[in-house]
């Protein structure tokens, strides 16, 4: 259980996290979703006491992180793959980390096996690929067998097999009743892994709901109709609460009317239909809609003129 209350972090003039309040519950995978610079990583660093909140507070299982007598058994965190001395071997890194809590080499070997690092455990971390670094970070997070896991972009740099493994591992750990918080800016990944999503935009919590709700609430369901008599069909469907946009001469996107109604209207007026499809909004669309105004770094679309 992670509880944040009005959590705020300012760096000079810039507000990285702005009065964020949320609760991460056990037994579920909770996703922290947001564009780059939205405050996800800063929030995670504050949870494990690396950054001091400007105001507000965050507690893990009812206590501040620093108050726990065995922090590694309480919380395991992968903040970034680079939190490891590059001159040390993976085995020695884990051994030194575990030693603080009296965790010995048997457990170190266990997490090395678990993350598939047996072949490189004796090698210096500096030569690791991004994916191996992530695996080592996950091994370090699991070292103390913690009740709560915090993972910042855990699938970054992993191969497809690794991605599947992380997904399975997180679901399994959540099923054991642990609290899992992971961040990502990949909405598709969240849709696959998370049960509950907290959306961050410019440091604020802009949505906090189960995955299904986020998809339903943010996205509009529309019907795509294709017909040689599209113009006539559009005229027949026109109503105050119906929105019709025309993608091309013969294709319409209709919102506010069901596919069944449109089919009925077409049949009773003898109009030919080539396509009639209900389009449900994806998590991706919902997310873009939610964060449209909250993106810190806007990109400009590159027009052909610019390219030339």
């Amino acid at each position: 259980m992670i509880e944040a209350q009005s959590l705020t972090k300012r760096y000079g003039q810039r507000t990285a996290v702005d009065a964020a309040s949320f609760t991460v519950r056990p037994g579920k995978v909770t996703g922290l979703l947001g564009p780059n610079g939205a405050g996800k990583s800063t929030t995670m660093r504050m949870i494990v006491g690396l950054d001091r909140p400007t105001s507000g507070s965050v507690r893990v299982n009812g206590h501040f992180y620093a108050e726990h007598s065995a922090p590694l058994h309480e919380v395991g965190a992968l903040l970034d793959a680079k939190a490891i001395h590059s001159g040390r071997s993976a085995y020695n890194h884990l051994l030194a980390l575990g030693a603080t809590h009296g965790i010995g080499s048997a457990r170190v070997r266990e997490v090395i096996d678990l993350t598939g690092l047996q072949a490189v455990a004796g090698k210096r971390v500096g030569g690791f690929s991004l994916g191996m670094g992530q695996r080592l970070g996950i091994a370090a997070a699991l070292l103390g067998d913690p009740q709560t896991l915090i993972l910042d972009e855990p699938i970054n740099g992993l191969d497809p097999e690794g991605v599947l493994w992380v997904r399975g591992l997180l679901k399994h750990l959540a099923a054991e009743g642990r609290t899992i918080l992971l961040s990502s800016h990949l909405m598709s990944e969240m849709a696959m892994t998370a049960d509950h999503i907290i959306v961050f935009g410019r440091g604020r919590v802009i949505a906090d709901a189960p995955v299904a709700d986020i998809v339903g609430q943010g996205a509009v369901t529309s019907v795509r109709v294709s017909s040689p008599q599209a113009a006539e069909l559009a005229r027949l469907l026109a109503a105050p609460d119906v929105q019709i946009t025309s993608a091309s001469g013969s294709t319409l996107d209709v919102a506010g009317v069901s596919a069944a109604t449109i089919g009925g209207v077409a049949a009773s007026n003898g109009l030919v239909l080539h396509e009639l499809t209900t389009v449900t909004g994806s998590l991706e669309e919902a997310y873009l809609r939610l964060t449209a105004d909250e993106v810190e770094y806007h990109t400009q679309s590159v027009t052909p003129e610019v390219v030339r």
Binding site: G49, A70, H73, A83, T100
Partner: protein, 274 residues
């Protein structure tokens, strides 16, 4: 990488109830594993041993005419000056290592792992200082003692009869090892304050080499006095007796320097975001 264990293994079978929780001995052991598992440690200590013994042999071979037929306290002083001549270079090596021990953690991001394991932070600095001090003390003392026994026959051949059973001889040696420990701790404090390897090494060598040189050049009595108080100068009083400071005064001056830098580092470490 193709066979991954089943997630079920995440539930540990190797953490027993007795090993739960942070402890001082655990943090010390952790810092010892960290120190011995880096190549820079072995390189630095290796260089210290080589310099200490090599310089002593060189010095004893070239300086035999200088001493003449001496024994007793004079011979002890001669043996000390021969075996401690390498410390002038050894202090630079230990200064670099002292900075690296902590700045390496900041440069690589390791410090975040260290602070997540020990969120109160200061025990990490304390354990680092203790482990690094003990290692430096042992390595320096052993290399000086070896240097003494290697150069003893050479000096004896030139008429210097240094008695290994002279208690003050060993006090000198302990003072020499303490000197490098103090230099190492000052550098550790500088490294933890600046959190950067190049910056820390520059500041540390600046304090040891540049500061006394500049102060000596300034034509004023206060500048010369101050030059005598810099760590590299005052610290010599720990092993080369009869200078400006008595050994115990030299120790107090060095402890003062250590206190200033370690205390600054501790306050900032506690306060700053990692």
């Amino acid at each position: 990488m193709s066979t991954l264990a089943q997630p079920a293994l995440a539930r540990s079978s190797h953490i027993d109830a007795s090993s739960r929780g942070l402890s001082a001995t655990g943090i010390l052991r952790s810092e010892w594993i960290k120190l011995r598992s880096l190549r820079s440690t072995w390189w630095s200590f290796g260089i210290i041993v080589a310099i200490q013994i090599g310089m002593a042999v060189l010095f004893s071979l070239t300086a035999t005419d200088r001493f003449g037929e001496i024994s007793g306290a004079q011979a002890t002083d001669a043996a000390v000056s021969v075996t401690s001549v390498g410390l002038i270079f050894g202090q630079l090596v230990i200064a670099v290592l002292g900075v690296l021990v902590i700045s390496g953690e900041y440069a690589t991001g390791q410090i975040r792992s260290s602070f997540m394991a020990v969120p109160s932070r200061l025990p990490v600095l304390a354990a680092k200082a203790i482990v690094f001090s003990i290692a430096t003390f042992v390595v320096t003392l052993v290399s000086i003692v070896v240097a003494y026994f290697v150069t003893m026959p050479i000096l004896a051949g030139a008429g210097v009869q240094a008695n290994p059973f002279d208690g003050t001889l060993w006090l000198h040696f302990i003072g020499a090892a303490t000197f490098l420990v103090m230099i190492g701790l000052i550098s550790l404090g500088i490294g933890a304050t600046l959190r950067s390897t190049p910056g820390g090494i520059a500041a540390s060598l600046g304090l040891l080499l540049v500061a006394p040189t500049i102060l000596v050049v300034i034509p004023a009595a206060w500048a010369n006095t101050l030059a005598g108080w810099t760590p590299s100068s005052a610290g010599q009083g720990l092993y080369y007796w009869g200078g400006t400071f008595e050994p115990w005064q030299a120790l107090l001056v060095m402890l003062g320097w250590v206190a200033v830098f370690i205390a600054t580092a501790a306050v900032l470490m506690k306060r700053r975001d990692a």
